[in-house]
């Protein structure tokens, strides 16, 4: 033990004099190990770790496979009554539960939040072993057809929506005109399986009877993916055996009820049992493996580079090692000495890597929950620590081994005898050139690829949209009863709401219209006279919409309120579409035929806008919105805020049957729309910088190593009159060849990749790519220069005797 401590102490004494070395290795290994730990943990959770539910390997989703006659297409969906009947009568599964999901507004809450609702039969809670923080989950008295309005809420909803009210049990929650009594709060530890969609966690569980598809209860014809049946397979039965029994039972149920139906004539029923694990994993496994390969690749580059740096460090320690050898240190002991240093360096790296991995986990949970399932389970736990320990031990051993490989034990003794004037460390010149070559080839391709992706995403981010949404909110109303009122009833209510909202001190203006960021419908319009077809995205908007968002009218007159009242077939088109329709003249007055050949007259042309995330404008058109539209754009005065509660209070005054379905900041929506681009810019910039940094470390390691080997030569050249400039030129010239070869090979690699995937990659390459390539060359040149200069600086900035004597 003392020997180990002593060894570590000596290693630290030697290392502390080299803060640059500690920084370089810690930063390189820390960052890459952090990324690797993050991806490894994610991969472990997704691919290896069992789901956190009892008998998770026996939990399955039952998917009927219906193949209709004359078509080979298989539909995987249930008919509502078929599923209910099967659920009620089935005996092959140990347990089964029906599930459905939706969204609803919690009306009796001041903020009227929209919550993700889940509708389940009581067995569901037992199947996933749902732990409760308070109260209980559903029991048989809340089963199918019992119509008992109770609710179980998630821990998050209890915390955020009800401010962790300790009296929550027994409180009422009103959704769509039904008042549900809260009977339980799920425990914080419960991990939602997210069976409906990755990233959507159920906020409140309600009994199956209240599901939003119950209007399909008697419809055997309609197949839907809105609901699902899950079950626990008996331990002693195979998947096939269970599937066969279900198949028979389902065919017996379905066939009598679809006799005479054209759709199901000769239909074949099959059953697919999909384990929870593979359902939740979906098709993400490929992406995970790619990520893993990426992180491992990065780690490999970092390892090679750090090995180079450490090799140069060993060369530097040569004399010390020689003295140790002379004093009787065996090769094993020398390895042990090197291990002391590499272990400490790896420990420092892990100290950086663990917080980096934790940061990666929070990014996954915050931003990637919609992409990767189970991210809530990806935490800094024992498995990450175990991976970290493996990495520390493996790399410490690997680096010490590589270092010891560069020592020729016999040469060491000779080194000492010739007073340090010989050379004893052997990494051949060819090997060094190969290392530089591969380093530059890899780094230049990585930097270029990331640079191109960055510039593409950055261009999209910088693209002017052509409309202004500053200080604007989008309001969508929700109606608390089953049927929306008619247009005539709605018109005065919406007009009243507009007036009252505009009376709020923080509101500048309200326009009853969809927002520019709402989803546009698409239609294949036909121009009446030429018959030419145009694929157009269109939106229903009010007359004031264009003025509100600052989209200029180029030609013609916008439709008026009268047109909105009378649903007049008027249409406003953008100049992109106008140019295509009337190549030389004006499009105003032309007619576009829409669905059911309804003819819309073009009344005005507006300037095209570019939607966030797109590179160029598309054909767009705007038709008059009904005055009873339950959506509005609210423009706030500068620096003002409008909360959901404030809108709810106005709405309650106007008509308490309405609630706030959504109230979104348009700037936030735009940000979300542009999130992939923001993400791409950040990730590619980080990756490009990381590649550059790692390449710099690697090049520095190799050049520094070879410079140390050439110390006497450099000293001699200095002695016979070489100046600093001449020596820098010499080193640059010596290293230019492998660097140029590397750049050439990198370019070849890029061309090869392009040739393979020209169709996909063509979109990313343009005149900017040349600039990106020039920047890549410049950055590689700069790091090459730095890598050549820094190791030389220790000699050329001192009198020549230092190089000659190796001081």
């Amino acid at each position: 033990m003392n020997r180990i401590l002593n060894n570590q102490k000596q290693s630290w004494q030697a290392l502390r004099k080299k803060p640059g070395l500690i920084f370089t290795i810690t930063a390189t290994m820390g960052m890459t190990t952090g990324a690797l730990l993050c991806v490894l943990t994610l991969a472990y959770v997704l691919l290896v770790q069992p789901l956190p539910y009892p008998d998770q390997h026996r939990l399955y989703k039952v998917n009927p496979q219906i193949t209709t006659e004359g078509s080979n297409k298989t539909i995987s969906a249930w008919a509502y009554p078929a599923m209910v009947e099967f659920y009620k009568s089935q005996q092959v599964l140990e347990q089964s539960a029906m599930l459905s999901f939706g969204e609803d507004v919690l009306i009796n809450h001041p903020a009227q939040p929209t919550l993700h609702t889940g509708y389940a039969t009581p067995e569901w809670f037992d199947m996933v072993g749902a732990p409760m923080a308070m109260g209980r989950s559903f029991d048989d008295t809340q089963g199918v057809d019992k119509h008992v309005p109770v609710a179980v809420i998630s821990f998050r909803v209890w915390q955020d929506v009800f401010a962790a009210d300790p009296q929550i049990i027994g409180k009422q929650m009103d959704f769509s005109g039904v008042s549900f009594k809260v009977i339980g709060v799920m425990a914080k530890s419960f991990i939602d399986p997210q069976l409906y969609r990755t990233g959507i966690k159920t906020d409140v569980w309600l009994p199956w009877d209240y599901n939003l598809s119950s209007w399909l209860a008697r419809n055997w014809q309609r197949l839907s993916g809105q609901f699902m049946l899950v079950g626990k397979k008996p331990a002693d039965k195979s998947d096939n055996a269970v599937a066969n029994v279900i198949e028979q039972q389902l065919t017996q149920l379905w066939q009598p009820n679809t006799t005479g139906s054209d759709r199901f004539k000769g239909a074949r029923f099959g059953i697919e049992l999909v384990s929870f694990k593979s359902h939740i994993l979906g098709d993400i496994a490929g992406a995970i493996l790619l990520l893993l390969a990426g992180a491992a690749g990065l780690m490999l580059i970092a390892t090679v580079n750090v090995a180079n740096v450490l090799m140069s460090r060993t060369a530097e320690q040569h004399r010390t090692l020689a003295i140790r050898a002379a004093l009787g240190a065996s090769p094993g002991r020398l390895f042990y000495t090197l291990l002391g240093e590499s272990a400490q360096l790896m420990l420092f790296s892990i100290v950086l890597a663990l917080p980096m991995a934790a940061f990666g986990f929070s990014v996954l949970q915050q931003w990637m929950a919609g992409i990767f399932p189970r991210v809530d389970e990806v935490t800094l736990g024992p498995i990450t620590i175990l991976f970290a320990l493996i990495v520390v031990v493996a790399f410490a051993l690997c680096f010490a081994w590589l270092g010891s490989r560069t020592i020729n034990y016999r040469e060491l003794n000779r080194t000492l005898q010739s007073s340090g004037k010989g050379t004893g460390v052997q990494v051949s010149r060819k090997m060094r050139a190969t290392l530089i070559f591969s380093q530059v080839a890899l780094a230049s391709s990585l930097i270029f690829v990331n640079g191109v992706l960055f510039s593409d995403a950055y261009k999209i981010l910088q693209k002017p949209s052509g409309f202004n949404i500053d200080n604007m909110l989008r309001l969508n109303l929700s109606f608390n009863q089953a049927q929306w009122p008619g247009d005539n009833e709605l018109k005065p209510i919406m007009a009243d709401l507009q007036t009252r909202l505009e009376q709020l001190p923080q509101v500048e203006r309200v326009v009853r219209s969809y927002s520019p960021l709402s989803r546009f419908s698409v239609n294949n319009f036909r121009e009446e006279s030429s018959g030419e077809r145009f694929f157009v995205r269109y939106q229903t908007v009010s007359r004031d919409y264009f003025d509100m968002i600052g989209q200029p009218v180029l030609e013609g007159e916008l439709f008026g309120e009268l047109d909105q009242k009378s649903y007049a077939p008027r249409i406003v088109i953008n100049d992109e579409l106008a140019k295509a329709m009337a190549k030389d003249g004006s499009a105003v007055g032309m007619k576009l035929l829409g669905r059911r050949n309804r003819a819309y007259t073009v009344v005005a042309v507006v300037k095209s806008v570019t939607m966030p995330g797109q590179t160029k404008p598309e054909y767009r058109a705007y038709v008059p919105a009904s005055l009873g539209l339950g959506s509005a754009i609210i423009k706030l005065k500068p620096g003002q805020k409008l909360t959901s509660e404030q809108v709810v209070s106005v709405l309650t005054d106007v008509d308490p049957r309405f609630s706030v379905g959504r109230l979104d900041d348009l700037a936030q929506l735009k940000f979300e729309r542009l999130f992939p681009q923001y993400m791409t810019t950040v990730v590619t910039a980080v990756l490009a910088l990381l590649s550059l940094f790692i390449a710099a470390v690697g090049l520095y390691g190799i050049v520094s190593y070879s410079t140390q080997l050439r110390r006497t030569e450099i000293g001699t050249r200095m002695a016979i009159g070489a100046t600093k400039g001449m020596l820098i030129k010499l080193l640059l010239k010596d290293n230019a060849k492998p660097v140029c070869w590397g750049l050439g090979f990198g370019l070849l690699l890029l061309v090869a990749i392009y040739a393979l995937k020209a169709d996909v990659l063509g979109a990313y390459l343009g005149i900017d790519s040349v600039l990106v390539y020039v920047l890549t060359l410049a950055s590689i040149s700069v790091i090459t220069f730095i890598a050549c200069y820094l190791p030389l600086a220790q000699y050329v900035n001192k009198p020549a005797i230092h190089a000659l004597r190796g001081q």
Binding site: R717, M718, A719, I720, G721, T723, G725, P799, I801
Partner: protein
């Protein structure tokens, strides 16, 4: 023009570490004239190599004045010192310090390549061949150092030291890495060069070779103890 090649006045060199201050050279006053052959000898650690390093502008003195061909060089910058080394000083090292990757020709030509006023290839070749003739190594012009014996390598090193026609040859234990026969031959070459007018200052601990010099300096604890022939005090 004066025939004084090297003049040192009150040169001192102190090595400082955190704890110790070592006075490697103390108050050295030394003049070497054109055509002189001076040897510096003394026990190990007396400052011989330090003195030679300062003389060759490989190191800087802590104090004192130093002139080469009448030009003050004690406080030159690194690049200027390199220029002076290139044009005025020829070095011969104990371990030859030839560059393995370069041929004999390129090794010898190296100082000319570093010269401020570059020479034509033909001039370089002519001069290199001439210097190799002097050391009787012209027949090895295309070889590489590792194909030569130690004695031959040292001859190449001497040719390299001569190639830029320096004011003085500084020779550091030229026989230290050689057997006695080869060592004797090298000393003979140096003697011939001196006979032809080359100024030489040689550090050696071998009394036999020290006595070959016309003037012998003895260093002890960083000071010149005595000079067997002419010793000029700086005035």
């Amino acid at each position: 023009m004066t025939d004084i090649k090297i003049q040192m006045k009150n040169i001192a060199k102190v090595f400082e570490t955190e704890e110790v201050e070592t006075h490697a050279l103390k108050d050295i006053n030394l003049t070497i004239r054109q055509g002189e052959y001076v040897s510096i000898s003394g026990p190990s650690g007396c400052g011989k190599s330090t003195l030679l390093s300062i003389m060759g502008l490989l190191d800087v003195p802590s104090s004192g004045e130093y002139y080469i061909d009448g030009v003050e060089v004690a406080s030159l910058g690194l690049s200027e010192a390199a220029r002076v080394r290139n044009s005025k000083i020829g070095f011969i090292f104990q371990s030859f310090n030839l560059i393995d990757e370069l041929s004999v020709f390129e090794n010898v030509a190296l100082p000319l390549r570093y010269a401020l006023e570059p020479k034509s290839e033909a001039q370089i070749r002519e001069r290199v061949e001439q210097c190799l003739e002097w050391v009787q190594m012209a027949h090895r012009i295309s070889h590489h150092p590792n194909q030569l014996s130690g004695g031959q390598q040292q001859r190449i090193a001497i040719a390299r030291a001569l190639v830029a026609d320096p004011a003085i040859l500084l020779v550091d234990e030229p026989t230290g890495n050689l057997d006695s026969k080869s060592g004797d031959q090298i000393i003979e070459v140096l003697q011939e060069l001196n006979d032809r007018g080359t100024t030489i200052c040689m550090v050696t601990h071998d009394p036999r070779y020290a006595h070959m010099a016309k003037r012998q300096l003895h260093l002890l604890d960083g000071s010149i103890e005595n000079s067997d022939v002419l010793m000029e005090s700086a005035s």
